[in-house]
Structures are given as structure tokens and as C-alpha cells.
């Protein structure tokens, strides 16, 4: 049930909507469940999920196994250093602030901002305007930013340059690698 993003005076109401769900939950199912699992030890909901997934021949053995699928200490025998290697970076991103570089065409220096500090696009754009002393135009889904020479863009996880504001806020902060304020008409 994807609604088109509605911008009302520059506010992305859907982005600020209260929802139950982890950041980035608009991303493909598999990724979400991996990141959800990786932070927690066994929880009842997870046990449910896994039991319902198990298929015929394996589940025969599972019937004899202890009922709760809680993780047993030290099993499988993989050192925590290895186990944590694939979870750790997510943890760092979530916990310790999310600094990305911001550059502006014509400016000699890059700046760094912590995306976690902002809760919405208007807040972020406001901060950028103050940092670089410029004004951003009006955003519309069809035309992008109108009314100024400056266009905020960002590089996402896939290395593509995107227009700031096109995707929901949570998706943006989990995929934004760096920001760039472009100058001049398209």
C-alpha cells in the first residue's frame, strides 16, 4: 500500500508518520529480518517465525529438540569475533551517529554532518541552508527543487546519485553515503 509522497509546504508527512518498524523497513524483506535477528538473542517472536518456516524432513528432528529455539551458549562453535563481524557495522551505524560528508559545488571544503540528529527532510535541508549559506527552492515530486540554483543530492549505497527527498526519510538515512549540493540548472 504505497501512497504517493505528498509534499505540503515542503513537509513530507509520511516520513514523519509514527510507525512501528525498524529504520529501513521499506527495504526488501530479507534484509530487514536479517538485521532484526542479528541484534537480538532468541525472542519468542523469532522462534515462532523459524518454526513455521521449517520444512518436512528437518522438522522431524526438530520435534525431538528442546521446544524453545533459544540460542545455546557457544553453539555453533564460531568465535564471537567472527559472529560479530557481520553485525557489528550495522550496530555502529545505528548507535554511534551517522556522519556523512557534505560538499557544495564551488566550495573548497567538505563538511560533515550527523544524519541521526535530524528527524525529517525539512530539518536537514534547513541545516544545510544554514551551513552553506544558500536557499533551497520548493520541492515537488515531479520537478524537484524549483526556485533556486541549488539542488541537494546524495549518493546512495549503490553508488547512484539521487535527489534528496524522493524516498521516505528512514530509507534515506539508511542508504545515504554522502551529500552534495549541486549548483546551476540541470
Amino acid at each position: 500500500m504505497e501512497k504517493p509522497v505528498v509534499y505540503d509546504n515542503g513537509l513530507n508527512l509520511e516520513a514523519t508518520e509514527l510507525r512501528l518498524g525498524l529504520p529501513g523497513t521499506n527495504e526488501p524483506e530479507k534484509q530487514t529480518s536479517t538485521s532484526a535477528r542479528s541484534k537480538k538473542r532468541a525472542s519468542p517472536e523469532m522462534a515462532e517465525e523459524t518454526r513455521s518456516k521449517s520444512s518436512s524432513c528437518i522438522s522431524d528432528a526438530d520435534d525431538d529438540a528442546p521446544p524453545a529455539k533459544a540460542q545455546v551458549v557457544g553453539w555453533p562453535p564460531v568465535r564471537s569475533y567472527r559472529k560479530n563481524s557481520f553485525q557489528q557495522r550495522k550496530g555502529e551505524a545505528e548507535g554511534a551517529g551517522m556522519y556523512v560528508k557534505v560538499g557544495m559545488d564551488g566550495a573548497p571544503y567538505l563538511r560533515k554532518i550527523d544524519l541521526k540528529v535530524y528527524k525529517s527532510y525539512p530539518e536537514l535541508l534547513n541545516a544545510l541552508e544554514n551551513m552553506f549559506k544558500f536557499r533551497i527552492g520548493e520541492y515537488s515530486e515531479r520537478e524537484g527543487y524549483n526556485g533556486s540554483d541549488y539542488t541537494p543530492t546524495y549518493e546512495d549505497k549503490d553508488g547512484d546519485w539521487m535527489l534528496v527527498g524522493d524516498v521516505p526519510w528512514e530509507m534515506f538515512i539508511s542508504s545515504c553515503k554522502r551529500l552534495r549540493i549541486m549548483k546551476g540548472s540541470e
Binding site: 536479517t34 524432513c57 551458549v73 567538505l110
Partner: protein
């Protein structure tokens, strides 16, 4: 500090020069000859045999042994070791049992390096090498080491903890002859000390610098300068705080590298606007001697083609931190014809392993780690991958394989195809899982391994296993030295088969298996020949363990409680080992020595 034997020889030589030469006694001649011959004897098993011949051989051997190996730091005291072996140049010390790696033992159990380094500081002034595994090493220990041994050359710490970057700073700055500093899978505290800057400014004799386990940033500019002034550097393994751009800068300074740990293998944000990416491919191509590649801690797969130029020469490739898929692996592995050692994540799937089997005909060692190390994870590799490897890699000697599904047929196939197997470790992550096609226990598969692999010395078993599997091991596993058992067996008979049948058994680690006191008793004839026995969450009673302790005074029998355990008589772990000493006095409160 001149030693008596040196003086004797000096006198003899002096005697020759002044014409006062007196024929040395036949015994003396024999001892001199023996010492000179023994200098060539390096194998410690041979040396142990020599020392048993007679007293004078014992003495000669003790004087000529320069490499001291202590497999259990509590089996002998520093004082006793030093009194016997007086001219030691290198020491290997091992501490905690392996299952401690998996959080099965509460921390602070022991294995302190302090008493050893303290004793050696005064007795082994010419010490050159220290190799520690699973020991607790403090910064002060490292400081003392750095101060006490002017000829010190090699420090290798594996799976150790207790120290931090400040300890490393001491080593870097004071060990002027340092050639090797290898930190492998240690837990290193971040004291926010810039240890890389502490190496001598004028140049180093570093040949090997391995720090891929250090979980804190390092001063990159200092590292770059260090590499530039270390012309002998052959092995460099970087941690994940080194980006690929930084890796490039190091590689162009050190094209002579033979072993490279590539750090994060991804770009940090430290790429200035408008900069071109460096030519990674030519940096790798310039490293013509590169044979061992690892790292890839946070790999961006787009960078993988950079390593193509070196693939054809690689004998060792460690992708076990690289989250790559089948296609990405295939693009690399197709070039790796000389590969002998390969570590990888199961993210490459069975198809990836098939590609390995198709190309890597020289493979000796394979380790497949789970990217999602939980019992109920997806399990992208299975018997299909194992079967393929067994058919393609006939020279395989060592395998560690994590999976969720396995069949006896594939294991049997491996036992027949890979007759050179020395190490077979299969971990079916779901506990008690049977052959997923036949529903049978995995007894026949492991049975075939011990039966057909005549050189097998190390075995780890898993899956649904009955006492039958153990009877096979006892019957055929005549060379097995190390055995790991988890969630296996039906009754005491299982353990009995093994203790009665495996004469070479040295290290036995068992968890969550239904073996009790009667089974424990059946090993009394053998425990003095073993390095240790670990049994946790089995069916032992305290009385059963006390019986063993009473019957065998040369064994130290430790029962270890969980820290939160209320019942002071209950215990989770039995850990027992032979020892020449009285039981240790440094045991924590949750350890009871019977």
C-alpha cells in the same frame, strides 16, 4: 652468565693452546659429540625420546634444547621448566582450553603469562621468540618482555587477551631487533595509544606485521612511513580501519610483500571530491611475490577485480570475512589454480564450492564458515558442496565445514576420495540433525571417515549420532589425537569406546552429551597420556570426579561452576589435565580443584 659446560670447553681449548692438553674422559667426549649432534634435532618428540635414554643423554638434551614447547601452561611450573632447560631461545605456551573461545568458560579462569615472563626475564636473557596461544597477557607483561630480552625477535600472540595498544607501544619502541609482531585473533584493548608511531625512526628489521584483529583505528600516516622504512617486510595484515585507498598507498611502497591482509577493502569517506580512484589493479600486479591474501573485512565487491593479477600465484586465500556471492567468488576462483589454503563464507553457496572444486586441484585446506552462525539459519551450503569438493580436491588434508544439511553419502564420498585427510571437522549447526535425505543418524558417515582416512589425527563430529559412531571411532581411529564432541551419543558406552580404543588420544573436548561417571572411570588407564579432558553439561557427578582425582594424583581435576550458580556443589564443566605441579593457586572462586 657463563655456564659450567662452556667453562669446561674453554679450559679444554686453553689446554690445547698451552700444551697442557689432557685427554678428556670418554664420557666427556661422548657428551660433547652428543651435544653437537643434538643441536640438529629439532622435533620435540624426538628430543623427548632422546631424553629418556639415560641420565647423560637427558642432560645433553636439556642443554641443547633451544625451543621450549609447553602445551598446557599449568602442566609444569616456570621454575621447573627453567631449571631443566637452560639455553632456551624460543618459547611456545598454550593456556586456556579451546572451548573457552566459545564463551563456555567464565572469564578470568587463568592462563596468566605473568609468572612465565617474570621467571624468564632473569633466566633466559637470550630469548628471541615467544609464541602464546589462549593466554592472558597484560601490558606490564609486554613491558617486561620488551625490557628483558635484548635479542628479542618474534612475538606471536594467538587468541590472547588482557593487553592493549599501550602494551604494543612498549614492544614497538623497545624491541630493536624485532622481526615479527603477529597478533592473530586477539582481543586488544583500545588504550588510544598510537603504537604504530613507536617503532624506531631509523628503520626496522620488521619482516612480519600482523594486526588485522585490532578493533581500533591506527595512525595511517605513521604506518605508511613505517612500511617505507622496513625494507625486509614480507607479511603485512591490516585491520579493517585501513581503507582500500590507504591499502593502495602501502602496496606501492611494498611490492615485495608475500602475505597481505587487505584491511577493509572498501572506500572510506576519505576520497576527496573529484579524485580518481587509484589503479588498484596495477598495484596488485606489481606484487609479484604475493602468495597469501586475506582481509576483505568490509568488502565492496566492485573492487574484487583488483586482485585478479595475483590469483594465479596465490597459495592461500582467506575470504572468511568477505560477504560475497557465488558469481563474485567464481570470478576470482577461476584464476586460482595453485591455491592450497582457502577460507570462505557459506554466502558463496554450494555452487561457489563447485567452482572451487573445478579449479583448485592443489587444495590442501578448506574452511567454510557460516555468515549467519545460528542453529536455525538458512544454510546455503550442504552435502552438495562437500561432495563436489571431495571429487575435485583429491589432495585435501584438512577441512572445517559449517552447514545446516548433510548426508552420510557425501561424508562417505569424502572419506574415499580424500584419503590424505588429517583433519576432518564437520559442524552441522542444527543440533541432533540426521542425514536430511535418509533420516538416519550420521554414524555411517563419520565411521567411514575414521575407517578410510588412515592419516586422520583430528576429528570433530556433529549431527544426530548414536553410540555406534563412537564405536567406529574407537575401532578405527587409531591415530586420532584430538576429538571434539557435541550433542552426541546415547550412553556411557560412547565415551568408553573412545577412551578404550584410541591410544593416541591427547585432547578430548565434549559438551552436552550423555556420558557419566562410569564412562569417566573407563579412561583411568589413559589420562596420564593426555594433555586434557574437557566435559561440560554431561552427566557427571561431583563424586565421580572426586574419584578420579583420588585415583590419579598426577592429574589436576578442576570443576568449574557458572558464575551465577547458586548450588556450590553443582558444576558445569570438568576440566582435567596432567601436571607435574601441585594444583595452581591462581584459580578464581568459581573453580574448585578436587
Amino acid at each position: 652468565m657463563p655456564e659450567p659446560e662452556v667453562d669446561t670447553r674453554r679450559r679444554e681449548i686453553a689446554g690445547v693452546l698451552t700444551g697442557e692438553f689432557q685427554s678428556p674422559s670418554p664420557d666427556q667426549v661422548l657428551e660433547n659429540v652428543l651435544e653437537n649432534v643434538l643441536l640438529f634435532l629439532t622435533s620435540r618428540r624426538d628430543r623427548n625420546a632422546v631424553s629418556l635414554v639415560c641420565k647423560s643423554w637427558y642432560r645433553a638434551e636439556a642443554l641443547t634444547r633451544s625451543d621450549l614447547f609447553i602445551g598446557n601452561c599449568y602442566a609444569v611450573s616456570p621454575r621447573r621448566a627453567i631449571e631443566r632447560f637452560r639455553r632456551v631461545r624460543s618459547v611456545v605456551l598454550k593456556g586456556k582450553p579451546r572451548f573457552a573461545d566459545f564463551n563456555l568458560m567464565p572469564p578470568n579462569w587463568g592462563a596468566y603469562f605473568t609468572p612465565w615472563v617474570t621467571a624468564m626475564a632473569t633466566s633466559y636473557p637470550w630469548l628471541e621468540k615467544v609464541y602464546l596461544k589462549r593466554m592472558f597477557v597484560t601490558d606490564r607483561d609486554l613491558e617486561l618482555l620488551a625490557q628483558s630480552f635484548p635479542a628479542f625477535k618474534e612475538l606471536v600472540l594467538v587468541c590472547c587477551d588482557g593487553f592493549g595498544t599501550s602494551g604494543l607501544a612498549g614492544i614497538a619502541s623497545k624491541c630493536r631487533q624485532l622481526r615479527v609482531l603477529d597478533l592473530i585473533e586477539d582481543e586488544v584493548a583500545d588504550d588510544e595509544v598510537d603504537w604504530i608511531s613507536c617503532f624506531p625512526e631509523s628503520g626496522t628489521c620488521l619482516e612480519s606485521l600482523i594486526f588485522d584483529c585490532i578493533e581500533c583505528p591506527i595512525n595511517f600516516e605513521a604506518l605508511e612511513r613505517l612500511v617505507a622504512r622496513s625494507p625486509s617486510l614480507r607479511k603485512l595484515r591490516l585491520n579493517r580501519y585501513v581503507s582500500i585507498g590507504q591499502l593502495y598507498r602501502l602496496m606501492i611502497r611494498a611490492p615485495q610483500l608475500t602475505h597481505l591482509g587487505s584491511g577493509s577493502f572498501s572506500s572510506s569517506d576519505i576520497v576527496a571530491q573529484g579524485d580518481q580512484e587509484p589503479d588498484y589493479i596495477s598495484a596488485f600486479a606489481a606484487c609479484r611475490s604475493l602468495v597469501c591474501l586475506s582481509g576483505f573485512r568490509e568488502i565492496i565487491p566492485d573492487y574484487l577485480p583488483a586482485i585478479y593479477p595475483v590469483c594465479a600465484n596465490l597459495t592461500s586465500l582467506n575470504f572468511s570475512y568477505a560477504n560475497i556471492n557465488t558469481e563474485q567468488l567464481k570470478s576470482v576462483i577461476c584464476h586460482c589454480h595453485k591455491l592450497q589454503i582457502f577460507w570462505v563464507l557459506d554466502s558463496v553457496c554450494d555452487e561457489g564450492l563447485q567452482a572451487v572444486a573445478a579449479t583448485c586441484k592443489e587444495l590442501r585446506e578448506l574452511r567454510v564458515f557460516p555468515i549467519d552462525a545460528r542453529e536455525d539459519s538458512e544454510g546455503p551450503v550442504s552435502e552438495v558442496g562437500l561432495q563436489a569438493i571431495s571429487e575435485g580436491c583429491r589432495k585435501l588434508q584438512s577441512i572445517l565445514y559449517f552447514c545446516q544439511r548433510m548426508t552420510n553419502a557425501a561424508v562417505i564420498a569424502m572419506s574415499k576420495n580424500c584419503s590424505d585427510l588429517v583433519v576432518f571437522r564437520l559442524c552441522i549447526m542444527g543440533r541432533h540433525r540426521p542425514d536430511h535425505i535418509t533420516g538416519e543418524p550420521m554414524d555411517e558417515g563419520f565411521g567411514a571417515i575414521v575407517m578410510n582416512c588412515k592419516k586422520l589425527t583430528r576429528l570433530a563430529i556433529s549431527g544426530l549420532l548414536t553410540d555406534k559412531a563412537f564405536s567406529y571411532i574407537g575401532k578405527y581411529g587409531k591415530l586420532v589425537r584430538t576429538l571434539s564432541v557435541a550433542f552426541a551419543g546415547d550412553s556411557d558406552m560412547g565415551l568408553k569406546y573412545v577412551l578404550e580404543g584410541c591410544p593416541k588420544l591427547q585432547k578430548l573436548e565434549i559438551r552436552d552429551s550423555p556420558f557419566g561417571d562410569a564412562a569417566l572411570r573407563s579412561g583411568l588407564h589413559h589420562y596420564y597420556n593426555m594433555r586434557f579432558l574437557w566435559m561440560s553439561s554431561c552427566r557427571l557427578s561431583r563424586q565421580g570426579c572426586e574419584e578420579i582425582a583420588r585415583a590419579m594424583p598426577g592429574l589436576v581435576v578442576e570443576v568449574i561452576r557458572n558464575e551465577n550458580e547458586e548450588d556450590k556443589d553443582g558444576f558445569e564443566i570438568l576440566y582435567m589435565y596432567r601436571s607435574l605441579e601441585r594444583p595452581r593457586i591462581d584459580a578464581p572462586e568459581f573453580v574448585t580443584i578436587l
